[in-house]
Point group: D2
């Protein structure tokens, strides 16, 4: 049981509030003798950092990571890796107006009812700022997996739907993803998304998104039956990300509409390799990886902090309304891409180690 820890063997515990002195995490169970530099973590964090384009929050955080333990002479030692990011651009005055009001769509109401106290500044612990810690932990998992699985291993995420505008995933191009502010994998729709999101922002509104993460170079056999299924832990990982409301593996929700013969992926042997004619399973059968690409997608709801006025109550139970000013992302889904990648890296490493334990 662990409120703020994720993982079973490779585990990380995050801590910190949006407007406290710092945030961070402790990564435990990392194999020893893996080369890790602060820069390896920093470069992943930079993907998630706010203030990088006009489409994300204008909060200016350089999100500079520091390693406090667990690395000796550039290598992991098998002991816990403590990571810290000091908070900088905290404009707490922005939040005074919402000190007593519950923002619709946010956890203000539930936190206060549950705990009887909450750090309202910037959303406190609810803030998506916590996801920086996940990205840092994910950067470590990625380095370990690269070391253990070799060059074929990679995890790549993208936004495949922005509000009402889906992209064509058949045009997925890894190289495009990092070159546009939307992590869009389909070059042909970028311009349209740009216009759309600008209009959303201009209207003081926000939109949702669908993110898809793909993992390649995964061996067959990761995951375990029944209650340690790989897809179960992936669903759990993605649903733990702020604002995520749905998760699909492979054909996902759409598989409900398929017939048995449309859905089940045929198997064949070509040379010495086992292949599949399709990948509706998303690379997972019976909770265990098939060796195919692992495909997971998740839906992020629209940013709840919007300029448009919404009815709500204050903490004294009085009916009122709220219009949330401040530096908010018009689509929080965009910055969820590196977070989803990080979580998938962590789940995969965790299952890699679990598989080694029982079947290695």
């Amino acid at each position: 049981m662990s409120f703020n820890t994720f993982g079973k063997i490779f585990r990380f515990t995050t801590w910190g509030e949006s407007h406290g002195p710092a945030i961070g995490c402790v990564v435990d169970g990392c194999p020893p003798n893996i080369n890790i530099k602060e820069q390896d973590i920093q470069s992943e964090l930079n993907k998630r950092r706010p203030g990088q384009s006009k489409f994300t929050s204008q909060r200016k955080e350089d999100d500079k990571i520091q390693i406090l333990s667990g690395i000796f002479e550039g290598k992991t030692t098998g002991t816990p890796i403590s990571l810290i990011i000091y908070n900088k651009d905290m404009r707490s005055r922005d939040y005074e107006t919402i000190k007593n009001k519950f923002r619709p769509g946010h956890a203000d109401f539930t936190y206060l009812k549950k705990y009887g106290i909450r750090d309202y500044r910037g959303g406190g612990r609810q803030s998506a700022r916590e996801t920086a810690s996940r990205v840092a932990a994910g950067a470590i998992a990625k380095k370990v997996l690269e070391n253990k699985l070799g060059k074929k291993f990679e995890v790549v995420g993208a936004v495949t739907q922005l509000g009402i505008l889906g992209c064509d995933t058949k045009k997925w191009n890894d190289k495009i993803i990092r070159k546009n502010p939307f992590f869009c994998p389909d070059k042909s729709i970028i311009k349209l998304w740009e216009k759309y999101l600008l209009s959303i922002r201009k209207s003081g509104s926000s939109c949702g998104a669908i993110i898809e993460i793909r993992a390649r170079g995964i061996p067959v056999g990761l995951g375990a039956p029944i209650y340690a299924k790989l897809d179960m832990d992936i669903a759990s990982a993605m649903m733990s990300i702020n604002a995520v409301k749905g998760v699909s593996i492979g054909a996902g929700i759409n598989s409900a509409q398929l017939t048995g013969e449309e859905n089940s992926d045929e198997i064949f042997q070509k040379g010495k390799k086992i292949k599949f004619n399709s990948n509706n399973a998303g690379g997972i059968l019976g909770g265990i990886s098939t060796g195919q690409e692992i495909i997971v997608s998740f839906a992020v709801k629209p940013t709840s902090s919007i300029l448009k006025k919404r009815k709500t109550i204050d903490k004294f139970g009085k009916n009122t309304s709220i219009s949330v000013k401040g530096r908010h992302d018009p689509c929080v889904g965009i910055r969820a891409v590196p977070v989803g990648e990080a979580m998938l890296n962590c789940v995969l490493l965790d299952h890699y180690l679990m598989n080694k334990a029982q079947c290695g």
Copy 2:
């Protein structure tokens, strides 16, 4: 870490193979002094039992539950409750033909590659027969929640989409659900579903489904931030059910298409009660229950065991094909309804106890 255990405080461990002597589970962490009779469990199991209509497997199991421990003079004692169901109608000869072939869409391939050995009879541990144990554990969770939360508490599930045919969830009627073989909540579509599923079965094919589970009478405050979110554990629970490929909470996947003002549920106070204008959140904000109805839906892929011939390989790597005979459900999604209810009951009780631990 636990391959075959679900839950944190209220935990159950399942065991058993489809064609072994028995299946069962051990339920741990159950509060003491709760009245539980075998019949309370049996009546839940009867909902899931095969052979009840022409739309489910014709395997004849009476699924008779026996309580072996943890109940004394009709009450729980706080010690582990061991439950057992002896297997009866095991026609192992049905499975001789698939002993060496991997059924597409099944975990035959991944189990053998992972473990180097597998009990192929009836799918062994992969078989959905394991879900009987979940339903038994869920029956106990339900009794405890009824005791702790009172009369308003209830969990009700239904099939809301059968293959390509969705029902109208606005017409949801609890009473209808138990009166038709599809657990359909919308009376107007039952006839159509009947025709549709008969045609699917006749063609030797199968179809997927979407199941929706609703929980009422849940207090505000269940769930915990970050990595013990209520929706995270619900997603994990549902994804652990055989053949599930996607999970949504509230508006779920659809929330990606909404704007901020469409999605966030407005709050108001009426009399002394806090109310919401809508429930896109599915009763969960920031991982914590709001006091609204909790709404979860999940997609079940079409049954992979179909008569239609599919390409595959055998365990020696030779290309071949397979047509799976036997007593299979044309839509496994239907029997997933009581399983989803059971899993939700278990997650809710677990979080009820967790909340009591930290905040009670």
Copy 3:
């Protein structure tokens, strides 16, 4: 968190009451492809079985084990192994007199106060009968370790002190242990122990004991720093056995009286082998195995069920007295030997798998 589960990767969950229909356990996380027969488990159980000599309880249980799952064609499949022992010689009438009285030294009082209900028959869940499940789980762990560590691996336990009479552990002889009813390793003291224990029993009293367990053929590197220390888990395992009140590793409690130079084991290399001049560490340094023999001892308090009259209260709070009749061991410590061996086997396998996960 788990009330009735022991272990991290190799885990077992026990269930059952002394006078319920059966007891048993579910073993999870067992590596696949290990040969295990019912007889392998039965032969370990036979060591613990009551009624084998006049020095142990006269309850007649044949303790016949049945495997219900997880083994296919004689081999483990990696799925949970469910084991069951049906209770037979339950003379519940023996316990009617203690239905309402708290036996001093027993958990009658604490169970009732904690749970508000208890199965008093034969001690219910408190009964040492639960340890049969541990011995069964330990038999499986032993088979796996023999497979993984080879012929040098063995775990051997003995009683080294019976009441006030210690044996000479320098005369420890494995072969002697199984040939006397006390599991005594020192041939020269057996006769004396026999007289002593007969007199204890005759007087309606009981005595305590110290048990020592040794594990050989353990590689260096099992265990992990800080909160997964091998000795921490061994202490926990032994303290979980009924009536155990103290645990020592190596020199143990006596190390308090040593000086630094007396205590620390000098290291030297001979040929290509690393050796130690002594083994005060009991084979564990910093929570990690050194490759030496692992030595653990634990103290078992005298049987609390004695004929001699003791003051107590009944459940209504009235002062009274009790004299416990029935079939009790004059020294429960004797039957704790196979239980201690089983627990050590389980801890060692668990750490073997954990080490493989992170450092394998």
Copy 4:
């Protein structure tokens, strides 16, 4: 499974090496709305701090604690509490001589063999410096327990044996303990201990100790049967402390020498209170607290870093010898007192919360 986390509901994860930039811990599962100031933690840390008398290490650390999260306006919020202590007086040059040699009695050998790498500076992660984090976590547990259990609750530890010199525990006096540098509870022996320890130090040697911790004001019902026994978790907690080799509950190891009537504590009712005639059980029966004083003692081996020359090998396998210079405690057991108190506070709070979850 967790290498560096202790606890089940109230959990803390420690990190940091002796000569890294900082050490610290993350405390999770803490109930909300508890008043905690940095000073509450600091005052506990000051008890453990080195350099306070000539009988402990002369390393000068002010061990200044900083709270980085989880406390808002002086109160816990239910979110993780991150604590950090920056390292200051690190004389890494002291350790250059032991870079390649394994110190007998230390974990140098086992860490290197296990991980293939180790931070040798000051013992790295093996260093007892890690225990400062435990004391900090324990200070939080103490504040919560004081809030929940009221004024009668207190945990007090003392050294009851220094090397070969035991004190008279019948003379135990809480007030004496904090007034002497040995945490000795028996005024009459302090002078003798002083002479003894000075002679030990002068000779370049060291000695072991026995520490006893007592907890008062504990309600009946904490702990749970079988594998969540209170004494099991206490044994585990104490054995996790550096250099601890044995743990006793109540009469502990000595209970082996008692008869049944000497050992079992008689119960009687006086007025409306349930009392016991003795406390050989150490306040725990069947793993559950009786409401009596909880008494645990543990043996700490003598400091392994001594001036006296000891045989060892270097990491290349060459036979050599070592004499460890530096600022070492002649008896590490003394500083284990506040650590033992902290661990007991943590275990008790954890079980308090667990009990509330299942039986509250």
